[in-house]
């Protein structure tokens, strides 16, 4: 079976019903996609299949033979971060980081498909992804920033929205 991952062709030896997630993590040692539930419920395993976000845990590899798979490794590297990676860093959109890869790929696809900074549209597009740390606020901020085409200062992080600091108060 042939599969292209991040532009690199692979000949896959796993059994045909092996999930794409297991093929990536166990056969190809690409570990950014996470086994958050293996039930399709959390989105931590989401990758792009021909540019569309899909749950790799629900996808038998035989069903995507010949497809182009994109994982976070294919978005950018530490020295050359994709806009969505810059935005997630700048906005602290990752806390523990476990849901982040899936979330970013869904966000990347959303923006690539012309998604706007509209909060409800972002919620609709990324709504199936569970994050247990952030409360989603900074994730939505980050996605909106990419959709707007913001540029990001790598030395500083973004102030939260709707935040006020009163300092000391008796």
């Amino acid at each position: 079976m042939n599969l292209s991952v991040n532009g690199v062709p692979h000949n896959i030896e796993s059994a045909p019903l092996t999930s794409l997630l297991d093929v990536l993590r166990e056969e190809l040692q690409i570990t950014s996609a996470k086994a958050g539930c293996e039930q399709g419920g959390c989105g931590a395993c989401t990758v792009l299949i021909d540019g569309e976000p899909q749950r790799s845990c629900l996808t038998p590899v035989v069903a995507v033979e010949g497809a182009e798979i994109t994982t976070v490794e294919g978005l950018g590297t530490p020295n050359d971060l994709a806009p969505v990676q810059q935005a997630f860093t700048h906005h602290y959109a990752a806390q523990c980081g476990f849901c982040t890869s899936g979330m970013m790929l869904a966000a990347h696809a959303y923006v690539e498909h012309g998604g706007t900074e509209d909060r409800e549209a972002i919620q609709d597009a990324l709504g199936g992804h569970v994050c247990r740390c952030t409360g989603y606020v900074k994730i939505i901020d980050a996605v909106a920033a990419v959709a707007r085409g913001d540029s990001f200062d790598a030395t500083l992080t973004a102030a939260g929205t709707r935040m006020t600091n009163l300092g000391g108060v008796a």
Partner: protein, 456 residues
């Protein structure tokens, strides 16, 4: 540039954003075995037969362990604080909750491991189960532990956590109104996106390297060392990067069992719980049952509080006595209530043991007492902000356990929200501060409770 107070980039931000943060499940060691557990299908039963011989004999099975393989079977999460152990690492003789691990298998792959678990012979004799903590004290209640249905080892040999302060009867006599209510927050799953996982690698020098998702490396190392009866230099915990915890990964859920399987098989062993195991078998936030009766005056002073708390510990104690004690220390919330009578029980049920979770012990009491105060405000026809502001703890007021508050910010945080909402307050309330009580804000009932802020 100042570092403290600055919005510096996260230390691990780029690693997160490039998918390069290495979690336990991302560590690859050749030859690693899969683990599956035989878990109790019953809520409460005697184990009348446990036969692992067929599993042991299966091709590809490298180790099977039961309670008999654990050097120290019972080690309490709070043994270090003198709280007795009551939970076996693997069930022995009796299962007390559905999902309790009984035997564990390490095998070459997942299918073999599951087949081996299915091949284990298990006979159970069902026993009546207890689920309602309000019925735990009934004479005919099913009995969970030989000593009974609640924890009996609080200081002084007491079977409950008790707080007494001031003169409760006097407060209830003087009250204009007594408002009584019941509050019951639910069990909650922690739901870290990374399920419980560990990988144990036996090293050439006899040490065990334990890759762990624990929230507490040294704490978990102590637990493993105790069960295995090993000195700390035989163990190396590797971790510190956790895919969400929220309290559930203070439990040492998988590490000890993997260590035993690695010892027995001589192979690296990884156990990653399925999401279903995480939902159904991992510990939860506790359900609580709280009853409050507050003695109040018509103008909204809280003179006294009687409170009864039952904490649903599940089948074993884990951190519950600690959580209940913390709960009792905070059962007046952000207010100064001078006369108190609190009784709290850690009650066992035949459900998955409960454990620490974000806000441990206090999330429950915050819900109960704050909802109760809103009720009182409505009952008295007093503004809910003003009721809180006048009773808010001030510098020098004392806690339930008689420690003076040195820097309470109840008043400023309430006023900040009142301002944000545009809530109307009288000028007296608007000008309030957290400074020590005086004048109208130091009525007779609050004089005796004032303490010293020195030396804390």
């Amino acid at each position: 540039m100042k570092a403290v107070g600055a919005r510096v980039p996260r230390y691990d931000g780029v690693a997160h954003a490039t998918g390069r943060t290495e979690f336990v499940d991302d560590v690859r060691v050749p030859g690693t075995l899969w683990v599956k557990a035989l878990r109790s299908p019953s809520h409460h039963a005697d184990i009348t037969r446990l036969d692992v011989s067929a599993a042991v004999a299966m091709k590809g099975v490298r180790a099977v362990i039961t309670a008999d393989d654990v050097p120290l079977l019972e080690y309490g999460h709070l043994s270090a604080l003198g709280i007795p152990a009551d939970e076996p690492l693997l069930a022995k003789g009796e299962v007390r909750y559905k999902g309790q691990p009984i035997a564990v298998v390490a095998a070459d792959d997942e299918e073999i491991a599951q087949a081996a678990v299915d091949a284990i012979g298990l006979d159970l004799t069902e026993k009546p189960a207890l689920f309602d903590i309000r019925k735990a004290f009934d004479a005919d209640a099913p009995r969970i532990h030989q000593w009974g249905n609640w924890y009996t080892h609080f200081e002084g040999g007491m079977d409950r956590r008790q707080i007494r302060k001031g003169n409760i009867e006097d407060a209830f006599d003087k009250a204009d109104v007594i408002v009584q209510g019941v509050y019951r927050p639910a069990a909650i799953e922690h739901v870290p996106l990374e399920t419980q996982v560990s990988l144990v690698v036996p090293e050439a020098n006899g040490r065990l390297t334990i890759y762990s998702c624990t929230q507490a490396l040294y704490f978990s190392m102590g637990v493993v060392a105790a069960h295995l009866q090993l000195p700390l230099n035989k163990l190396k915990f590797v971790g510190g990067t956790v895919g969400g915890g929220f309290g559930g990964k203070v439990d040492t859920a998988t590490e000890t069992i993997c260590a035993l399987l690695a010892q027995k098989s001589g192979r690296p062993v990884k156990w990653r719980w399925t999401r279903e195991e995480e939902f159904l078998c991992s510990s939860t936030r506790a359900p609580w049952h709280m009853e409050i009766a507050d003695a109040v005056t018509k103008d909204g002073w809280i003179l006294g509080r009687k409170m009864l708390t039952l904490h649903d510990s599940g089948a074993y104690s884990r951190f519950s006595p600690y959580g209940l004690t913390k709960h009792s220390f905070h059962h007046t919330g952000a207010y100064s209530i001078p006369n108190l009578e609190f009784d709290g029980y850690v009650v066992y049920t035949n459900r998955v043991p409960t454990t620490a979770m974000r806000g441990f012990g206090v999330t429950s009491v915050s819900f109960a007492t704050e909802t109760h105060l809103s009720r009182i405000a409505h009952e008295l026809g007093v503004d809910p902000f003003e009721l809180r502001l006048k009773n808010a703890n001030r510098i020098g007021d004392t806690s339930p356990n008689q420690i003076a508050y040195t820097d309470p910010s109840t008043v400023p945080t309430i006023l900040a929200i009142a301002n944000a909402l545009g809530h109307k307050l009288t000028p007296d309330y608007r000008a309030m501060t957290r400074d020590p009580r005086s004048g109208d804000l130091l009525p007779e009932h609050l004089v005796a409770q004032i303490g010293s802020t020195e030396g804390h």
